[in-house]
């Protein structure tokens, strides 16, 4: 990472700590903000957060690795999360998944070259009666068919 980038990030995190405080309970809101802006939380950012909260970098990494909505690896601008739990599975998840993969030319777990979309599976999102379901960022889409899913995907910027 360039020194300039580091300095920007550092300032940004210092501001977040000013807003949310430097107690342990501030950790998740701070990480969420970084995630929102950068689509991931870099090694450097994790160490900065640790320093300002006076905890250890591995504790920050532990929290990031625990929560599916936080990531320590670069991700696309948008994250598509298709539910893989049994109800959606029976409702036709497989064909939806195949259609999306074909449309984007990437597999689940990957990110498009232009960083537009990352594809992931998720567990039940509470929409079991309206499956198959998926999340795009924090929005829910239900009763998907392969065609409908592709249409929605193509609208993402």
């Amino acid at each position: 990472m360039l020194v300039m980038e580091k300095n920007f990030l550092q300032e940004e995190i210092e501001k977040l700590v000013e807003t949310f405080g430097n107690s342990r309970s501030a950790l998740i809101p701070i990480l969420q903000e970084i995630q929102k802006k950068h689509h991931y939380i870099s090694e450097f950012a994790q160490q900065e957060v640790a320093r300002l909260l006076d905890i250890h970098p591995v504790e920050v990494y532990s929290v990031i690795s625990f929560y599916a909505f936080l990531s320590s690896e670069p991700k696309g601008r948008n994250i598509v999360r298709l539910c893989q739990t049994i109800t959606c599975d029976l409702a036709g998840k497989y064909s939806v998944a195949k259609a999306i993969e074909r449309e984007l030319g990437i597999a689940f777990g990957e990110t498009t070259k232009d960083n537009r979309i990352s594809l992931e599976y998720t567990n039940c999102v509470g929409m079991c009666d309206q499956g198959p379901a998926m999340l795009i960022n924090d929005k829910v889409y239900t009763r998907l068919s392969p065609e409908k899913a592709v249409e929605i995907i193509n609208e993402i910027k």
């Binding site: 309970s25 994790q46 250890h56 591995v58 990494y61 532990s62 690795s65």
Partner: protein, 637 residues
Amino acid sequence: MSDKEGRAPESQKPLVVEKPDDTSKIGGMVSMEINERKVQVPLGTTILEACRQNDIHIPTLCHHDDLCTAGVCRVCVVEVEGMRTLQAACAYPVTNPLKIKTSTPLVRKARKHIIDLLISEHYGECYSCFRNNNCELQSLAKEYGVDHYNFGHVQKPRYEIDKSSFSVVRDLDKCVLCKRCVRTCIDLQEVGVLEAIDRGDKTRIDTFMDKPLADVICINCGQCINRCPTGALRANDPRDEIWAAIDDPNKHVVMQTAPSPRAAIAEEFGIPAGKSMTGEMNTAIRRLGFDKVFDTNFTADLTIMEEGTELIIRLFQALVEKKEGVALPQFTSCSPGWVKYLEHFYPEYIPNLSSAKSPQQMFGALIKTYYAKENNIDPKDVVSVALMPCAAKKFECNRPEMTDSGYKDVDFGLTTRELAQMIKEGGIHLPEMPQTHFDDPFGDASGAGLIFGATGGVMEAAIRTVVELVTGKKAEDLFENANVMPVRGFEGVKYAELPIPVVGPVPEILKALVPNWDWLKGATLKVAVCHGTANAKKVMDDIKAGGKFSECHFIEFMACPGGCLGGGGQPIPTTPEIRKARAKAIYTEDESLPLRKSHENEHVASIYDKFLTDGPCGHISHKLLHTHYTPRGKYID
């Protein structure tokens, strides 16, 4: 010991109830019934403690006497009357009258299932594991009669073994996720290398961004190894290379032995903690085929001369010459875990570290120069092994700067556990060995060198010497039997003030450095001692804030709780009781020795006569016995 609750966030802290100071007050004691037996316990006692006090065995796995409660393994469950579910005994403080049962069919079945489940995720073969016969998982399996894999068994290793570190090897396949290492590294050591990463069946204990241990900030103390119940963590073991050197007729293999292993090695042979086996160990080492066995206490004495002189020089510069920027307090430098801790977390204080090498490395430099020369041995044929209670010594001897003899000064750091293993492989039962002494020319060392093994020992040794050299009086006149009690004991941070009411003549060996002692007359020497790097952090933060420790002159830091006797290479288990017993063994042996002060060691005097001819902190000693440090910082790229 550091504050036991450590840094766990409030929300994650298990319920802990402070025990009352005075249990005779109303409400101070609570009555409970354990298996229909009525007992009284102080309020806040956990069910586990209550059972132990009443000799009722409860199996445990994630519990460790040194660590805060985690309550994650559930092996310790018991039935509590009125509760819907079984309760974890280690995490249940007694606050109101209770009736519990520790061995009902329900309890036994639950524990058995829990153990079966742990084993179903465990990959390892006991016969090829260093914890064979000393593994808590294995003993639980035995205790509960596990004879088949009820819930299946991992067939193939899932992880690669991390052998990147000179000190600690990690084999995640054997890990049972008890998080003892996590609590050790964060709460006792304040280094924070390990945490639980990912969740569900992917959970593992790993480093920052899953990097190899050698690439993250680890001080190599090995405390995590000593707290691990299984073989998931072990030391980087050089036994094969050492055997090969012994078997090579062209190699001259010498061993130096630190003070702590001798006070603990008997434990590896089934003897309760607290019995020193110095003489027996010397014999065993020779029978294994080592050519010489030396006493590291000798270079501990030398360390006192060098480090003590360095302190006097710094004080003289600051107080008499009024030089600017003299780095005080001076910090001890014999604990390589502490040295690396400082290099990472407080690199701006490197000037305060004594430049004197640790006794291990001083010895290494002398063996391949002075000793080799005196005995007409080509130093390239000398293999120098250091028996240490320590995992960090393995890293220390591999520091690139530790080659002042022209060779790698110390070839291998061997832990107490590893030597015990070699002795067993050699077919020797240690307690049956006759006693023999160390070899010359470094054969005799003082009790001051010996107590380096306990927290406060370096300080006590330095005080015995400095007091005599400066006041011209006997240490015995100031401290009963020359035992400097204020710096002894297991309190996490100790502080002492030593007034210097009178001064004597400057002894010959220091005449080149100071004209007289008048400038110390009426002064008060302020010293501090701490052990466990979590306590070091407290002291360092106080110094940074300009607190009372910033006014100290000399501070002893040891990375391991209890000092070296509680080192990461010592026999497993190490608990508060065991540390006490080892300390007693060390102090008893010190008192039994005729020689108890470093500066009275004739062999030390003769090495200054013959070899280090320009005296302590002179040119030759600077070249061989002193070193420099690396500011490392706490960022990982």
